[in-house]
């Protein structure tokens, strides 16, 4: 691609320790515009911990994450408005309808919430707009959460197992979305146990292994 690859996010010597276990030590890498990065590793190697540190939810034991050359904990509002993080839990409220759920998050990020209905159709939830989320399945909850990706103007997407409970067609659609996002100058960092079918020059892998002291 002809886009200039500027650094969006940089991990600087991250060390993570969880319950006396060293998960990774002095891990450094850059996330450039146009990158799709898959974090790989067996269970318990710290994939989720790494993503949560990158999102600013967890504090690393040592090291820092830099956004525009500044520690993310010092420019949290700026960073958060350029970030979408989706974790294991979808963050969907059972007491609200799927449309209300999506609208809340769009408004929270200062986006146009009138597009919520249309966006839900993108993730195959057409007709479920005013169903209470507590009546929907786990996969549908995840779709509500993922629907934000279609509207977002955030550059950095950090997604922890986005394909869980999503069917094949949905996975394909998401992969297309990731490619489009990367082409438009964004970056995607994700974990998944499925093999990605995308072939892209910018498709990178970070592999985490068990550490021994």
């Amino acid at each position: 691609m002809a886009t200039q690859h500027s650094v969006l996010l940089a991990a600087d010597k991250l060390t993570c320790i969880r319950e006396d276990r060293l998960l990774f030590d002095q891990l450094s890498f850059d996330v450039n515009t146009g990158d799709i990065i898959q974090v790989e590793g067996a269970n318990g190697t710290g994939k989720t911990s790494l993503l949560r540190i990158l999102a600013g939810l967890s504090q690393p034991y040592d090291g820092k994450v830099l956004y525009k050359a500044e520690n993310i904990h010092h420019c949290q509002e700026d960073y958060n408005s350029d970030l979408i993080f989706l974790g294991h839990l979808p963050g969907v409220k059972g007491e609200m309808t799927s449309e209300e759920n999506l609208q809340f998050y769009l408004k929270l990020h200062g986006l146009d919430h009138s597009l919520a209905e249309q966006t839900l159709a993108e993730v195959n939830l057409f007709g479920f707009e005013d169903a209470l989320a507590s009546h929907l399945s786990a996969g549908q909850h995840r779709r509500i959460a993922l629907a934000r990706l279609w509207q977002s103007n955030s550059k950095i997407w950090i997604l922890d197992e986005p394909f869980t409970a999503i069917d094949k067609a949905g996975v394909e659609k998401l992969e297309q979305l990731f490619l489009r996002h990367a082409k438009n100058g964004g970056a995607v960092i994700l974990t998944t146990h499925q093999d990605l079918s995308i072939h892209s020059n910018d498709f990178k892998k970070i592999i985490l292994e068990h550490q021994f002291i």
């Binding site: 320790i17 969880r18 319950e19 006396d20 276990r21 060293l22 504090q59 034991y61 002291i213």
Partner: protein, 251 residues
């Protein structure tokens, strides 16, 4: 600005440094306490009003002062832990809380034992005893919160927040209790005067106070070292330390 502090912020250095100090603290505290408590029990004069029961004073007041002082120290450590992300400060909170709670308990019990002959009842909702009781609750809260977390570093951060919230509230609680006490107590119960300190009393008191302070320092040193080890157990220097110790024990 913080550069001179840097070597002491290294866990390994602090571990060994504290280890060197501990025997000194033990020796000083034993000397001071033997001397001070000897004076307090046998040589200081009896009070003209309270008779020999005034000897409880030499335990009660240092313990009460230390209980407040340790809380303050804990709050300062908590601030350091949160603002400068100092992990050693977290370790020192964990080490200090049980010591502070112990001294608060001593202050409470000696206060009650002093109150029984003076007021005729074990417990009185006197301002000092009541704030001491609430201080004990605050300590127990910090300890309980500390123990509730599996992860030591999270426990340290949570305890830091709580310790700071506690120290902001402490003056308000103290003031409210004092005010409440004067409002309800009136003149019905004869409050006894703080014993006016003559030199015969001041010397044993101050010796006891420093004796207890060094005892605190010694116990703190021991607990602090243990906390450092627990928080750095994945570091190579701890590994060598453990293996070395095993070797010396094995021979």
């Amino acid at each position: 600005m913080w550069k001179w502090l840097h070597p002491y912020a290294n866990p390994e250095v602090s571990y060994h440094f504290t280890g060197k100090l501990i025997p000194w603290f033990s020796a000083i505290s034993v000397i001071l306490l033997v001397f001070g408590l000897g004076l307090a029990l046998a040589f200081s004069p009896a009070d003209y009003q309270q008779g020999e029961s005034v000897r409880i004073f030499y335990l009660h007041v240092p313990a009460a002062m230390l209980s407040m002082g340790i809380y303050l120290g804990m709050a300062i450590a908590a601030l350091t832990a949160l603002v400068w992300q100092m992990k050693l400060a977290e370790a020192s909170i964990a080490a200090l809380a049980p010591i502070g709670a112990t001294f608060t308990a001593i202050a409470l019990l000696t206060g009650a034992a002093w109150g029984k002959p003076m007021w005729g009842t074990w417990w009185i909702w006197d301002a000092r005893l009541t704030s001491e009781l609430i201080l004990l609750f605050l300590y127990l809260g910090v300890i309980a919160l500390q123990n509730a977390f599996e992860d030591k570093s999270l426990a340290g951060k949570a305890a830091s927040v709580l310790a700071i919230v506690g120290v902001v509230n402490l003056p308000i609680i103290h003031y409210s209790v004092e005010w409440w006490n004067t409002l309800h107590q009136g003149a019905t119960v004869s409050k006894f005067e703080k014993p006016s300190m003559s030199t015969d009393m001041f010397i044993p008191f101050i010796v006891c106070f420093f004796g207890f302070s060094f005892l605190v320092a010694r116990i703190f040193g021991e607990r602090f070292r243990a906390e450092i080890i627990a928080r750095n157990s994945m570091r190579p220097w701890v590994k060598t330390l453990v293996l070395e110790q095993e070797k010396t024990n094995g021979v």
